[in-house]
């Protein structure tokens, strides 16, 4: 994540509970793209002078076993060690940790950089006519990093662990609700039986049900030793871990396309400005950074890689607040908000959001909806129509009450900046905004819908339908009620019906079409005033290629999810 905030907590997307803990846990990642906090990022930059220092043989201290099959090259990547304390795929809660874990442990199904589902530890699968039986054929000859063969027993162990009573897995509710049985007729076959059709199953398998080694974890599935140095089947393995870095080395016997760089060192570097100094000084090769300073780095020859995220950032409206139930007031808020300024300053590499689904989702994104641009007169007219007339001190009044709204902003620089822009831009049409700062770690109120207006970045998860369900299905519970989302109190029979249809089909075209219809309805109802789809960005020194583009839409994907494609072209 990247950018701006000052605090180093996970920045700010709200979390879902069951579907994607990835997301949830890091309650934050959304803002990921844009907002990372300075603390998250503090690292940095380099005078060209510093680069010279990189020459010479570089081997991570204490690391590395020489192996003919390991590609050469080394990249030092700035991270926050506090986020990497656990790399257990079920326990990791920060985007950065999930990105690392994704290279170590793998699922039956994986994501291609273009975000399609491709075979992972399963070479193929068949889905029965009634959508209730999934049969997977496992990839032959795969071994764990310690040499033990991977078998169907590992898959069964993983799913049972996820469903267990003491489960820590993000997918625990999904598994308990939808998977009725796991059968392993032989070492190379796994059959999953479902209680009812569940079209997002493959996505869940790719993202959350990363396969764990039963031979190491059967005694304690959450073994601290494993959390520190997980053993997987993936393209990278952990070879060293110290207080201020973790060393990953390319897996010489990887079943798929081998990693392109031999060693990636995840180096602790929490401060944004210092991170940039580290890049300039040659101590770091790759950092995540604030879009505002990116231009100057690019001018100096540094390479910026961007990837659009699958989240939407916007103003959340509480539809249970009487004042906000008036569609004209919501329209006025949308028209008066200086979204151009928010996007250009805080989401410079992202795009202005018009609808809730990011263009990163391809066909699922509806680009036919008319673009909304700032229109102060339109906003004033809408307020007039709602009966709010100009009053003393320029604040509008109705029935003697001033037009005053409360706005919850999380205590991180980027969210506070957005609040300041919202306050100033609404003031221009006579709306008085009271900003209430909420600790980022203290999301209860926001997540329970206890607000009038609030800014939240919502990841739509790797399955758009799941994301839309969490946000807009009327039956979706808020956090306080033991659920996760729909903090708006939004109830639309039309949307509920469209969602039901989408769950019953795995046909991509149909699901995408349904997703677009849902967006059109939400666009009209405005429970959420979107302003940006953020982008992830990485900056590297010249001579390193970060082939991450297209990776944005994965819900838990932030920067670094395709480190196996990073490459040193020139040292």
């Amino acid at each position: 994540m990247t950018t701006t905030t000052r605090s180093h907590r996970p920045s700010g997307e709200a979390a879902a509970s069951d579907h994607l803990r990835a997301v949830t846990k890091s309650a934050a990642q959304g803002m990921a793209a844009t907002q990372v906090t300075r603390r998250e990022l503090l690292a940095g930059a380099a005078g060209a002078a510093g680069l010279v220092a990189l020459a010479g043989p570089s081997v991570a201290r204490g690391a590395v076993r020489q192996d003919a099959a390991v590609p050469s090259g080394q990249i030092i990547y700035a991270t926050r060690m506090s986020e990497l304390t656990t790399l257990h795929p079920f326990l990791a809660r920060f985007t950065s940790a999930l990105a690392v874990a994704y290279h170590i442990n793998e699922g039956l199904v994986k994501f291609a950089p273009t975000f399609e589902l491709v075979p992972g530890l399963a070479t193929e699968w068949t889905i029965s006519e009634d959508q209730l039986t999934f049969t997977f054929t496992l990839r032959p000859g795969v071994t764990w990093h310690d040499g033990t063969p991977f078998t169907a027993a590992d898959v069964r162990f993983t799913i049972e662990t996820a469903a267990a009573e003491d489960s820590q897995a993000a997918a625990q509710n999904t598994v308990r609700t939808y998977i009725s049985a796991v059968e392993t007729p032989d070492d190379a076959t796994v059959i999953l039986r479902l209680t009812q059709p569940y079209s997002p199953l493959l996505t869940v398998l790719a993202e959350q049900l990363t396969i764990l080694p039963s031979h190491l974890l059967s005694a304690d599935p959450y073994s601290p030793a494993f959390a520190e140095r997980p053993v997987g089947t993936g393209p990278y393995r952990v070879v060293d871990r110290q207080a201020s870095f973790v060393t990953l080395e390319a897996n010489p016997s990887y079943w798929g396309e081998p990693a392109r760089v031999g060693t990636i060192i995840l180096r602790d570097s929490p401060e944004a400005a210092a991170q940039q100094a580290g890049l300039l000084g040659g101590e770091l090769d790759v950092i995540q950074f604030n879009p505002t300073t990116m231009a100057s780095l690019e001018a100096q020859g540094y390479v910026v890689a961007r990837g659009l995220a699958g989240s939407v950032h916007g103003i959340n409206v509480d539809l249970e607040t009487p004042l906000l139930q008036d569609a004209n007031v919501r329209k006025a808020l949308q028209l008066a908000l200086d979204r151009e300024r928010i996007q250009s300053i805080l989401y410079a590499n992202g795009v202005m959001a018009n609808t809730v689904v990011s263009p990163a989702y391809g066909d699922y994104h509806d680009d036919s909806l008319p673009a909304v641009s700032r229109d102060l007169d339109g906003a004033r007219a809408a307020l007039d129509a709602a009966g709010w007339v100009a009053g003393g001190d320029d604040i509008r009044v109705k029935d003697g009450q001033p037009l005053r709204l409360q706005y919850q902003a999380w205590a991180a620089q980027n969210w506070q900046d957005i609040a300041a822009i919202a306050q100033a831009s609404w003031r221009e049409v006579g709306i008085d905004l009271e900003i209430v700062t909420v600790e980022l770690a203290n999301l209860t109120d926001t997540m329970s819908g206890q607000f009038q207006l609030a800014t939240v970045g919502w990841p739509l998860t790797s399955d758009v339908i799941v994301g839309l369900t969490q946000l807009f299905r009327s039956t979706e519970l808020t956090l306080a009620e033991g659920g996760t989302r729909n903090v708006f109190g939004y109830k639309s029979e039309a949307v509920d019906g469209l969602l039901d249809q989408a769950y019953a089909t795995t046909d991509v075209t149909t699901r995408a079409d349904l997703a677009r219809q849902i967006q059109a309805q939400v666009y009209a109802d405005l429970p959420l005033i979107p302003f940006a789809h953020p982008a992830y960005q990485l900056v590297s020194r010249p001579g390193i290629t970060l082939d991450e583009t297209g990776a944005g839409a994965l819900s838990s994907v932030g920067p670094g999810f395709f480190m196996n494609r990073w490459q040193v072209t020139e040292s």
């Binding site: 401060e271 210092a274 000084g281 770690a441």
Partner: protein
């Protein structure tokens, strides 16, 4: 002497108790603190279940008693974030902070003593004014700003010192000792800056006081060489009060380490504390408050004992 030490030692009990109460109260009595133990761990279980699992639903006195019993055995529970025992987390990070703060303290003393003496001997000279202005600038600059300026100038532009961490990563180093020392220069200097400044002033005023004392006058009048007067009599006495003040500096140093460790990516407890506060990792926050408190209380005790040992006046009374 022994009686003094005994008395001083007896004070430790109440001090520790107060420390424990403060630490517990900070987390459990601050409005808005424990209600927030939420998304840190949301993974399907709801808030109520979680409070129950963490024991937050029990009456406060019961929670306190339990915590006290555990704390007495240095067991502060497990981190909410990664399940690691708090004690382990702190012990892992402690050496880095001790190295940083220790170096900063030594640097402050090594610089402040000669500077303060010069300032005192040449009172109201331009050197004195220059040092005075330096000292006041030193205590007036926000540490995070000084840190980033130092990083840009000495780390990036001049490229003399490494910018982050405690050691080189991913490149060969000749001697690990020299490597760490090299990494220590910038953070220790910035952390020690304010101490250097404050102690310079202190040495100046303490030395000034001593120089007019009778025994110095007597020494002078006996015709002792000025150098001997200075070093054998004046300086020794002037530095006596510093012992106590070094003890009192410990809390400031540890507090300052929060910012310095963050900017310089130093893997110490200052940053651990900061990160834990933001992540609402209460067991770690409570453990750290107690831990650093105990360390500084012991540091002060040590300073007092040293003071008593070298100052003949302190014996029986006080």
């Amino acid at each position: 002497m022994n009686r003094y030490l005994l008395r001083r030692g007896v004070l430790l009990g109440p001090q520790l108790l107060i420390l424990l109460v403060l630490s517990f109260g900070l987390v459990h009595l601050t409005p808005g603190a424990t209600g927030a133990v939420d998304l840190n761990a949301v993974s399907g279980e709801n808030l109520e279940q979680m409070r129950e699992r963490l024991g937050l639903d029990r009456p406060l006195p019961v929670q306190f008693a339990d915590w006290l019993w555990d704390a007495a055995r240095l067991d502060f529970g497990d981190s909410f974030m990664d399940g690691q025992p708090v004690r382990e987390k702190i012990f892992d990070r402690l050496p880095a902070t001790m190295l940083l703060t220790g170096t900063a303290l030594v640097m402050s003393l090594v610089l402040a003593i000669p500077l303060g003496v010069v300032s005192s001997l040449y009172r109201n000279s331009s050197a004195d004014y220059g040092l005075t202005v330096f000292a006041f600038l030193g205590v007036s600059i926000p540490a995070f700003w000084a840190a980033i300026v130092v990083i840009i100038v000495f780390g990036v532009q001049l490229d003399w010192f490494p910018i982050q961490g405690m050691e080189s990563v991913g490149r060969p180093v000749g001697s690990q000792f020299l490597d760490v020392a090299h990494h220590l220069v910038l953070p220790a200097t910035v952390l020690g800056l304010e101490g250097t400044a404050a102690l310079t002033r202190l040495v100046r005023s303490s030395m000034t006081d001593v120089l007019v004392e009778d025994y110095v006058r007597t020494a002078r009048s006996k015709g002792l060489a000025e150098r001997a007067v200075l070093y054998r009599h004046a300086l020794k006495n002037a530095l006596l009060p510093m012992v106590t003040l070094v003890g009192l500096r410990l809390p400031t140093l540890i507090g300052g380490a929060v910012i310095i460790e963050t900017v310089f990516a130093w893997p110490g407890i200052g940053r651990l504390g900061w990160e834990s506060v933001l992540q609402r990792d209460y067991p770690v926050v409570m453990g750290l408050v107690v831990f650093t408190g105990v360390l500084t209380i012991l540091g002060n005790l040590l300073a007092d004992i040293t003071y008593a040992a070298i100052d003949p006046r302190i014996k029986l009374d006080h």
